[in-house]
Amino acid sequence: MATESIKYLSPDTDNKTETKVFPRPDQHAKGIVNWLTTIDHKKIGIMYGVSALFFLLLGGLEALLIRSQLWSHNMEVLTNREYNQMFTMHGTTMVFLVIMPLSAAFFNFIMPLQIGARDVAFPRMNTLSLWCFIAGGIILNLSWFFTGGSPAIGWFGYAPLTDNRFAEVLGDMGPDFWIFSLQVLGVASLLASFNFITTIINMRAPGMTMMRLPVFTWMTLIVSFLIILAFPAITIALVELMFDRTYDTNFYDFLEGGKPHLWQHLFWIFGHPEVYILILPAMGIVSEIIPVFSRKPLFGYGLIVFSGAIIGFMGFAVWSHHMFTTGMGIVATSAFSILTMLIAIPTGVKIFNWIGTMWGGRIRFETPMLFALGFITMFMVGGFTGIMHSSVPIDAQHQDSYFVVAHFHYVLIGGALFGLFAGFYFWIPKLTGKMLNEKLGKFVFTLMFIGFNLTFFPMHYLGMIGQPRRTHSYNEGHGFETWNQIATIGAFILGIGIAIGIYQFITAAFNKKLKSAGKNPWDARTLEWTLSSPVKEYNFARTPIIKSRDQAWENSYGPKENHSEKEPLGDHGVHMPDRSWCPLITSIGLFIFVLGLLFRESIEVSGSYFATPYEVAIGGCSVFVLGIILWALEGPAGYHLFPKENEE
């Protein structure tokens, strides 16, 4: 054999030449370039948070319109169709554009700090997740401006409602916008979750074993697994729906052999784990806050972690309790009923552990703690009504009544949103380096707590006396008026509370009057509180060597052998990856591609023919692929920093 003809590669693994394909801004970039090209997990977390808070106001506005319509009998604030559009957009916005990205904001900002990492595993991919989320949010809300307006199909999009032939408006594009925005948001969530899983599994500081991970990081890991296993079901369901609407397939077309029932199954196989995707991050946040403000380590750490994992695991086996009234048969309904009752056990374990943590502790009632306590109590109310619904006969009675609306708002506002607000009040000092105004915080909590209960507690009663949900108006004589008026007043109080809270968070960055926070204003226990506030771009000047679970407490109060140590800095210093335009280019390509797919007719600009939708789609797809190729060629690159020994 002529060995000369065989070419061998250099075994060099350290000095790979870089392809300079696209100018990358250097690390000192300012202004808009700074935010558009950043790959810093902290800035990405901030952008997630700010855009999600904007969508919270938008979704809240939709909710207030719904509540105004229900003020009294036969009101005409909204037409039938507008009312349907409002509750569809309210639900979709709150689930996909508010609670999930708010959780993602905390995952991004806090999780790498808690495990002692300098960034997530794939910083540029993290940026892509952010831009995809924003693109998805824009696509969903663009629907307002095109044929048929926004979707009027409910956030669940049940099958015959999405069928072209039953559309109220000819050529209704609302469901198409809904389908494509959910697909783009799915891409964002999946990419982010792959990233978080890799980060938590692989980028822990030395000594940070899995059972020393803070509970919030554990919940990040569990939620990420839930997302990567649950989202495929809705992605495929939406692909099938898209084919039904565009290419006349028969997946959900009951006239031609399809089964609308299948949509419900696929939707809820995703939809029920989604409920835990929304609530587990808040549980993680509360598990961080309660020990700090009770001055006691978390009671039953291992049990809380395993309960979270079991909730996540069992979350995949209870989806059909959303469908008890569809006639699945006795065996299926009984099995799902029992499993649903069982899932209350790990949830109850967590609640008892939080109570156990507070028991005998020195409790400080500061704003984060108030929100955390609000979370526990309100979530328990939602949990109890949830257990009621696990019983099939009771569920059949409550199905589609306001009782269900009360139930899941207690879980999602009283639970998830209170938990996330607790997180904001807890971590904003770390984020901005300034303490929030405690009095204003308590005022916000009071408004939100009162407004929330005024809004949703009467709904239990309204549901029991028979007010149906998703219904535009009600007639006189049912006795619905009084409680609906109380609920509407409560909704406005809640809205004002949330708006003041958002104002407080956003202005925290600019308000010069606020006190400086210092490293550890709450005397908290996890690793992020050993860093300066705000955190430096490289997070840890020296990689910490972890010795125990509550490391910041051990460093302050523990014996010498439990204090964390620091790895020496290598000759190269801290290696930081370069900024990049590629994630933005890639997501803009995806955005144009989706718009091209959405429009089925040629685009005309002032009477003259502009482009066919396919030209737009192919153009967008080319930009998308180009972005990926440039991304691969440019590599992570990077620069080095040499922080001094005492900088943190």
Binding site: S10, T13, T249, L255, L266
Partner: protein
């Protein structure tokens, strides 16, 4: 705090907590997720395969349109491509550029043959005289089989096509003179994806094709 003035780049990969490379963990997580994508599609197909809207439950025999010899051939080709892929990964780990190129080329060609067979099959099915299987009908009757069949096998075909383009990228890259053993991990991750796509076909072939001859 001082900064390195030069834009010196070193690509020493930081040690990971598990010792497994980050990109590999990412790919495994993605493949776990992809299992759920195909799981949903295959379930949809299994639920619907015997359902027809107008024939009162009488199933129209789909075997009249299937071309099992062609599909068996393309199955064999796709599985054989996995061998080339494994050899390509092995070659780049050893730093053998010539062998890496040829094995990548073989994988691409076999992947392309599989795709060509699928294009031929789809065209043939849609236009089969008397037995047209379209997205919404079979023999002119409303039917769901076409919907699930084309979307399931089409999704798999899309996966193969993405894999072919990815491998093509590596083949082109190997001619730039920049490829080194530092790329071995990236090629291996690409290989993981390719093998997974093959494994999915090992499930699709019996469930979608062979089962029509058994049950």
């Amino acid at each position: 705090m001082s900064e390195a003035a030069a834009h010196a780049i070193d690509h020493h990969e930081p040690e990971t907590s598990t010792g497994i490379h980050n990109k590999k963990v990412l790919m495994w997580a993605f493949l776990g997720s992809d299992c759920m994508f195909f799981g949903t599609l295959i379930s949809t197909h299994l639920i619907y395969r015997k359902i027809s809207a107008t024939v009162g439950g009488n199933f129209l025999d789909i075997r009249d349109v299937f071309d099992i010899e062609l599909t068996s051939f393309s199955t064999f080709i796709l599985l054989a491509s996995s061998l080339f892929m494994a050899l390509a990964v092995s070659a780049i780990h050893k730093g053998n550029l010539t062998s890496t190129r040829w094995m990548l080329f073989g994988t691409i060609i076999f992947g392309a043959i599989f795709l060509a067979c699928q294009v031929y099959e789809f065209t043939h099915f849609v236009h089969a005289p008397g037995n047209e299987l379209t997205l919404s009908t079979y023999r002119g009757e409303p039917h769901v089989f076409g919907s699930t069949f084309y979307v399931l096998t089409g999704t798999h075909g899309t996966h193969v096509a993405i894999g072919v383009f990815w491998l093509l990228g590596w083949l082109i890259y190997s001619f730039t003179g920049k490829m080194s053993t530092a790329d071995a991990m990236d090629v291996e991750v690409c290989g993981l994806y390719w093998h997974f796509v093959d494994i999915v076909w090992i499930i699709i072939f019996p469930v979608v094709y062979l089962m029509e001859y058994a049950f």
